[in-house]
Each structure stands twice: as C-alpha cells, then as structure tokens.
C-alpha cells in the first residue's frame, strides 16, 4: 500500500468552500477529495469528478438477472421437469414475468450496493484513513495530494487565504486496508492537528 503526502484544509461553510475549490483547481493543485458532513449539490462538478458508471453496472446486473431467470425457469419447465399446471403451456411466459422482474431487481439492487461499497472502499473489517474527524460533524474537509514540486507551507498559506479555518499536513494511506475501528486506534487519535 502506498502512502502519500496530503495537505488538508478545513472549511465550515459551503459558500467559502466552492470558490476555494475553484481557486485550488485553477492554481493547479490536485484535489484528492472533499469530505463533507452532508451531500453538497454541485460539488462533484466543482471538483471535476467524472460521471459515475454505477448505473451502467446496474443495467448489466439487471439484464443478467432477467437472463438468469428466463433461462433457468424455461429450462426447468420445458426440458428438465415439465409439469402441467392448470392446462397452461409449458412455455408459460406471462407467469414467469413476475419472477424475471424480481430477479432483475434483486440482481441490480444487490450488485449495485456491492459495487457502490467497492467504489467507496467500504466493507466490514476494512479501514480507511480519516483526514479529519470533524468531516462527519461540521467541517468541509478538502484534501490535496502533494507532488514533489508542492511547497507545503505555501499551500497551507494559500488555503488559509481561501478561508480555511484549519490546515495540516499528513502522510497517509490513500486506500483501504484490513483492520477494525473498534479494536485498533480511533481515527482521531493519530491525527496531528496543527492550528493554522
């Protein structure tokens, strides 16, 4: 797992955050992510995230479900174990549509939830680095990834100028790793908070 260098700036207002995001991007810094206490409308466009492909995945899971149901049930009722049910034909499509529909929904729903968890790197017994504990409370936490060329002190000053209440520098793991929050150290204990 690769550890990377990050500069973290904390804001307490969306109205300050949006111009700051814009300025940071035009200044050429690379925003790793922005952690907010609630979903902020339009922030995804502002930080330049691409459209999610979750719905495409959902469509594929859905048609997989439909196909599974149709092939399974038609094989069972026409080839494997044909039964005469109320004099209906063996290939009784209308009766199968509810099952096809249910399996479509089941596959799409479960598949999308799992895909979503994977994309967000959420799973039981897995940990991720928290850049600031107050991101779940009242802070909008902007995390900027540093390169060799980044001058950390300049960047912190830049963020403070944009209205950040708190800035700090962290070397952190960007992905997920095996571990448990309740057994291992709490996220806020290893965060070195440096007042701006």
């Amino acid at each position: 797992m690769a550890k990377k260098k990050f500069v973290v700036g904390c804001f307490n207002d969306e109205a300050v955050l949006f111009p700051a995001v814009k300025k940071v991007r035009t200044a050429g810094y690379k925003i790793h992510d922005v952690y907010t206490p609630f979903a902020v409308h339009g922030l995804d466009h502002a930080i330049g995230l691409r459209e999610t492909s979750l719905h495409t995945a959902g469509f594929i899971y859905g048609i997989t479900g439909t196909t599974t149901a149709l092939s399974c049930i038609s094989w069972i009722f026409t080839k494997d174990w044909p039964l005469n049910i109320g004099g209906k034909p063996h290939f009784a499509l209308p009766a199968w549509i509810p099952i096809m529909f249910e399996l479509t929904v089941l596959f799409a729903a479960v598949g999308m939830v799992l895909t979503f968890c994977y994309l967000c790197q959420l799973a039981p017994f897995v940990k991720k680095h928290h850049f600031h504990p107050r991101a779940t409370d009242d802070y909008f936490v902007m995390v900027i990834e540093c390169t060799e060329k980044t001058n950390i002190e300049d960047l912190k000053a830049f963020l403070t100028n944009q209205g950040a209440l708190e800035t700090n520098f962290q070397i952190a793991e960007e992905g997920w790793w095996l571990g448990r929050y309740d057994k291992d150290e709490m996220p806020f204990e290893n965060t070195e908070v440096v007042a701006a």
């Binding site: 409308h41 004099g87 209906k88 209308p94 509810p98």
Partner: protein, 409 residues
C-alpha cells in the same frame, strides 16, 4: 427579467398548420358522418361513433392530465415546474372544449339509443340478463348523464379556479404573508381538483365511458390503466409544447434540468402503464375464466393481435430502452421523438380499447381514424397557442420561481 420574452405570439405557420389539420379533420368528419354515422348500416354507425368517441375521450383525458400534473406538483410543493407552468395551464384550457365534444358524442350515443355501442342501453336485453340487471344501478342512462355532466363541468370549473389563482403571481411582488396564503389557497384548490380527479378518471369515468362497451366484462384495473395511459401521453404533450416554445426562443429559464424531470415522468409512467397492463392481462390469463378472457380473446389471438403487441412495443419497450439513459432525457431531439411516439402509442391504445370491443371481427384503422385525429390535433394546436399568447409565459412573482430557475437534477 426585463430581457425575457414572456409574451408568446402565435406564429402564422402554426395557425396555417392548425387550420389545415382542422380542415382535413372536418372533411373526414363530415364525410364519415354522412357515409357512416347516419347510414342505415349499424356496423358503419358503430365505426363512426366509436371512432369519434375514443378520439374525443383520449384528447379530453390527456388535456386534463395537464391539470392533474399541475395539481400533484402543487400539492407536493414542487418548485421545478414554475418556469414552464403556463404550458400545462394552457393545455388544460382545452378541457371545456374537448369535454363538450365528448359530452355531445356521448349524449348522442345515449339518447340516440346506440345499443350496439353500449349494450346496456337495450332495456329488453337488460331485463333478460341477470348480470346486466345486477349492474343496472350503475349502468343506466340517468346516472350516466348526470355523472358525465358533473365530471366534465367540475374538471373545467376546478381547473379554471386553479388557473385563475395563478394569475395573481403575474401582478405584483408578494410579501411573506401574501405568498404563504397564495400557496395555501393553491394547495386547497389543487387538492379539490385531485380528489375529483381520483373519483372520476381514477375510478368511475373509464368504467362508464369505455369499459361499459363490454357490458358483461369488468376489470377493476381498467380505470387506473386508462388514467396512466392518458397521464403519460399528457406529460408527452407538455414536453412537446415546451420544446416547441424553447425552439422559438421563449422559456429562457427552462432548460435541460426541467426537460430531464419531464423525461423521468415519461419514463416512469411508461413503466407504470406496463405494470398495470401486465397486471390486468396476467391475472385474466392465469385464471382463464371465460367471462374474463372474452376481453382478450380477439385482441391476443384475433385480428387485433398486431395492434395489441405493437402497442406494447411502442409504449413499453421503446420508452424503457430509449429513455433509460440520463443523456437521452436531456436531449431535445430524443425527447421530441419519444413524446410523439408515446402520444401516438397511447392513441393506438385507446383505439384498441374502444374499437377492439366494438368491431371484434376486423381492424379498420384508416382514413376516418387519422382524419379525426387530425381534427383534434389541429384544434389542440390552435387553442393551446391562443391560450399561451393570452398570459405571460412566466408568472414572475410566484414564490417558487427562484427554486425553479436554479433547479438542478
């Protein structure tokens, strides 16, 4: 605000088109009336009056769907409709006009004793028939006339009150208390319309007007099915007017975000229509009781087979596959195409609902159907255009207008 073009002027070309369509329709109507409507042959009579009936009911219901759209969005306190709300308002002004035509046609059928259309009008047959006797409390001319009159009158009146209230949003800025009372009065008026709509389109009216053609058969699903059919076509009609005005350079404040929401309505209600279509079909197919399957027999296995499944393809498969993507719902060309397809599809749906019961032996979809369709389309274009030009296109002091302008999906 000053630079907005809020005053719609009816273009000459639109007038020409609407008069041309109306003229074409009138020729078909008059020719049909004298060759078929007043002919001695009952089959010809049924063909003419049935065609007139399903067309007028279809257009009344889809124009009324606009008022239902206004009502439910108002009740839900939805703001996004405000930038284009004058379009459904203008379309809903058609309810009294098309309603009167429907009323005239239905009254002609009732008082002309066209018992080949409504079998329950035949008093001797009813007296000898235990099933029809049991339904006589509901299926009798007196109740039919009273309920039809009330329905059309109240749709028109309650809708008119809602439109009238919204004129206040044109006049002067509202302060907090005035805005609150404006919203409250709007909620009450739209709630009244919604209740009446539920009692009519949502339950009794499709049973009375259309389902009673098959006097012995019944389906509790039928009214919902008819309602959704008309609602999804009504939303498509709003979409068409919206895109038309947008193309002419009006509605600057309406954009892809609003179109996306309308597209979602078209998509979602197409699916809902299929859900009801299938629920009605599958239960009857599964139970396989002769008095129920009588409705589907000639539709699924008889001459209406083609139309029946064509109907399912254009009203379900096409919206499902074409409108599924986000980009499609935000694309003006695709939404226009789908709106025309959906309106046509549900017109065909009404065709098979009415004519499929009246003329079981053969399909005679031809000049009469398309001629009368042209008459209704022309009338709709003419009067909706006129209604749009009477008021500003945007009620600029409406409390929710800002919410609509910054609307983002």
């Amino acid at each position: 605000m000053a630079s907005l073009r809020t005053q719609f002027e009816v273009p000459g070309k639109m007038k020409t088109w609407s008069y041309a369509l109306m003229g074409l329709g009138l020729v078909a109507l008059l020719y049909g009336m004298f060759t078929k409507g007043f002919s001695a042959d009952e089959h010809e009579q049924v063909h003419f009056w049935g065609t007139l009936m399903y067309n007028s009911i279809f257009w009344t219901l889809i124009c009324n769907a606009s008022m239902f759209f206004i009502s439910v969005t108002t009740l839900a306190h939805a703001g996004f409709t405000q930038t284009f709300r004058r379009i459904p308002e203008a379309i809903s002004t058609m309810v009294p006009i098309f309603g009167s035509i429907t009323f005239a046609v239905l009254m002609y059928i009732i008082f002309g004793h066209k018992h080949h259309i409504y079998h329950w009008l035949d008093t001797e047959a009813v007296a000898a028939d235990p099933i029809l006797k049991g339904k006589a409390g509901f299926l009798n001319p007196t109740f039919f006339v009273i309920w039809t009159t009330l329905t059309i009158a109240l749709w028109s009146f309650l809708g008119w009150r809602i439109r009238k209230l919204n004129n206040e949003a044109d006049q002067a800025p509202m302060d907090q208390t005035l805005a609150a009372s404006f919203i409250k009065r709007g909620t009450v008026r739209t709630a009244m319309f919604t209740v009446w709509f539920g009692l009519t389109v949502g339950s009794t009216i499709p049973w009375l007007w259309m389902m009673s053609i098959d006097a012995h058969w019944y389906s509790t699903m039928y009214s919902w099915y008819t309602f959704v059919s008309s609602f999804v076509a009504g939303i498509s009609l709003i979409a068409l007017w919206l895109i038309y005005l947008k193309n002419k350079g009006y509605l600057e404040l309406t954009g892809q975000e609003h179109l996306h929401d309308i597209g979602k309505f078209m998509f979602a209600f197409s699916i809902f229509w299929t859900y009801l279509w299938f629920s009605q079909y599958m239960l009857i197919w599964y139970a396989n009781i002769p008095e129920e399957t009588v409705y589907f027999k000639h539709r699924v296995q008889g001459p209406y087979k083609g139309i029946f499944f064509f109907n399912l393809i254009i009203n379900f498969l096409c919206p499902l596959l074409i409108l599924m993507k986000r980009a499609a719902k935000r694309n003006y060309t695709l939404v226009t195409f789908m709106a025309v397809l959906i309106i046509f599809g549900h017109w065909i749906d009404f065709y098979q609902m009415v004519m499929g019961s009246l003329m079981k032996e053969h399909v005679e979809l031809g000049w009469l159907d398309f001629g009368i369709l042209a008459f209704f389309v022309g009338t709709m274009i003419l009067f909706v255009g006129k209604a749009l030009s009477k008021k500003p296109l945007i009620a600029k002091y409406h409390p929710y207008l800002k919410e609509s302008i910054i609307h983002q999906v």
